[in-house]
């Protein structure tokens, strides 16, 4: 029980800490004790990093994919982007992919094949998440 303080002591610590932060450290041993403390921040395994795809030089004549997730604004935003791009680049082709299930990774089963087939045909992709 030595190193774990009862609730009343925790309250005391709170008060001391606040005083300390405001430059009014209380006197006494408790305030002067020094602690060597461990990091709570977790380590992660390194993951391989990938660069993003090379850009196209123009959108004219290109096939542009619009990925809309399940959120209700995603498709309306995609449609607006489509409209604006077609105005600016009339010869571009737009292809919409609508992910209807909430928060799923389309690159894994069961829709992986469909998603990959869609992505392979594209020159550029804009993702819309509705937020």
């Amino acid at each position: 029980m030595r190193r774990f303080f009862p609730v009343s002591a925790v309250t005391g610590i709170a008060v001391m800490a606040i005083f300390s932060w405001s430059g009014c450290s209380p006197s006494g041993d408790a305030a002067e004790t020094r602690y060597e403390v461990l990091s709570p921040w977790a380590e992660v395994d390194p993951i391989p990093l990938r660069g993003i795809s090379a850009r196209v030089d123009t959108l004219e004549g290109k096939k542009i994919g619009l990925f809309a997730n399940f959120k209700r604004a995603a498709v309306p935003i995609a449609r607006e982007v489509e409209k604006k791009l077609k105005e600016r680049f009339p010869d571009s082709e737009i292809s919409l992919y609508h992910s209807t299930a909430p928060n799923v990774d389309e690159s894994v089963e069961p829709d992986a094949a469909k998603f990959e087939a869609w992505a392979k045909e594209l020159d550029a992709v804009i993702a819309m998440v509705g937020d």
């Binding site: 190193r3 709570p40 977790a42 380590e43 660069g51 850009r55 928060n103």
Partner: protein, 405 residues
């Protein structure tokens, strides 16, 4: 490239980095989240169009093309200083929850580790979104910071294991705009061993087990999972239940089999059951007859997933009149007007759980989450260390001694 609300740009960049593609171009727009206003969307896209086009045609920078491998090797020892200095350092690092912490010194962490037989470097799970390694030692460090006791370690390990089960959809709830909080329901003998409050005021502050275990879970989610408020945890309004939401079932005062037995565990097993509510409502029944209590429970609007809290007195009334837990659930399913917005059909048995808890009074409670994400309640058995009896004696006697006045 990705188009996101301005407030989600940091979140999108963290997500891209977490997938190994830190160079993904993210363009922010002022379009309201989940906007249904055509003019809002039109104006937002109008304003962002040049940036969108640039993001698709501007040549890649060297860093975007070949991002440098960033290998983070955090030092095990984070800091040396006084109590106040430690608190200031941790707060500034974003490792706290706004309340003072206890210093996780080598000595305090070693003592915390007596609460488990697992080795300190054992990885219980990798927690999203950062895929941080939840080693037993990292769990212990966060537990010390939260003011937990070594007897809380077995529960924390079980909770971390439960969170890593895809059926919780922790990936969605942990970082969602909905501000869902991890609810931990404790069952079995361990409740009494560590004095989990299952009775009066169990959800109010004042009990070290209920308070510190939940607080530690919050710190673990932040410091191991890497879900920081406003960066990855995008809870719009936030939720005070994220400070701590740990309850125990009042098994001794329930006429029914406890929750973990419903889920297939033995009565002598100790378990934690996890779900993510973001609303807590309480009400009183119009009548204290079984029909009156059940009608009020149904009227509270349980959806998938929900935890309904029935106080022991009401459970006794049900039982005395011959109502089993199953019958109460069937009544609620039949009479609840609530439907899950993401799924057709009426409320199902697996959509909600009944927990007998709380003290004297007339109130009943509903902790409501959401379904339709392929999510369900997740239960884990708590594995106790061999020295449990010794630990129980050492730490289990600590209770507030309230002065009468």
């Amino acid at each position: 490239m990705l188009l996101a609300n301005n407030g989600f740009v940091n979140d999108a960049r963290s997500a891209a980095s977490g997938k190994g593609m830190p160079g993904v171009r993210v363009i922010g727009t002022p379009i309201a989240c989940e906007s249904t206003v055509a003019e809002d969307i039109r104006a937002g896209i109008d304003g962002a169009l040049d940036e969108i086009i640039a993001a698709l045609i501007d040549p890649l920078t060297e860093e975007e093309e070949s991002p440098e491998k960033f290998v983070e090797t955090p030092s095990r020892i984070a800091f040396k200083g006084t109590l106040g200095e430690v608190n200031e350092f941790y707060y500034r690092k974003g490792w706290g929850d706004g309340l003072p912490i206890l210093p996780p010194s080598e000595e305090a962490v070693a003592e915390m580790l007596t609460g488990t037989d697992l080795p300190a470097d054992h990885v219980v799970a990798k927690l999203i979104p950062r895929m941080g390694k939840a080693t037993v030692e990292k769990i212990a460090v966060n537990a010390v910071m939260a003011g937990a006791l070594p007897t809380h370690m077995p529960l924390l390990i079980a909770v971390v294991d439960a969170l890593s089960d895809p059926k919780t959809r922790f990936d969605t709830f942990e970082v969602s705009t909905g501000s869902w909080a991890p609810l931990v329901v404790v069952n079995g003998p361990v409740r009494n061993d560590i004095r989990i409050n299952c009775s009066s005021g169990m959800m109010s502050p004042g009990d070290i087990a209920n308070a510190a275990i939940g607080r530690a879970v919050g710190l673990i989610v932040k410091n191991i999972g890497g879900a920081r408020k406003g960066i990855e945890d995008m809870g719009t309004l936030g939720d005070a239940m994220k400070y701590s939401l740990v309850i125990g079932e009042n098994e001794e005062n329930s006429p029914w089999e406890p929750l973990h037995v419903d889920f297939g565990y033995g009565k002598e097993d100790s378990t934690v059951t996890v779900m993510f509510p973001n609303r807590y409502t309480q009400t009183i029944p119009a009548q204290t007859t079984p029909e009156g209590i059940a009608s009020t429970l149904a009227g509270m609007g349980p959806g998938a997933l929900s935890c309904m809290i029935v106080i022991p007195d009401h459970a006794r009334i049900f039982s005395q009149e011959g109502w089993s837990k199953k019958q109460v659930k069937e009544f609620i399913m039949e009479n609840s007007g609530r439907r899950d917005s993401r799924r057709a059909g009426r409320l199902q048995d697996e959509d909600f759980m009944l927990v007998v808890a709380g003290g004297p009074g007339v109130w009943m409670g509903l902790l409501g989450s959401a379904g339709g994400f392929g999510n369900s309640f997740v239960t884990r058995k708590i594995e106790l260390p061999q020295s449990w009896d010794v630990l129980k004696k050492k730490y289990g006697t600590m209770v507030p001694d309230y002065v009468r006045y």
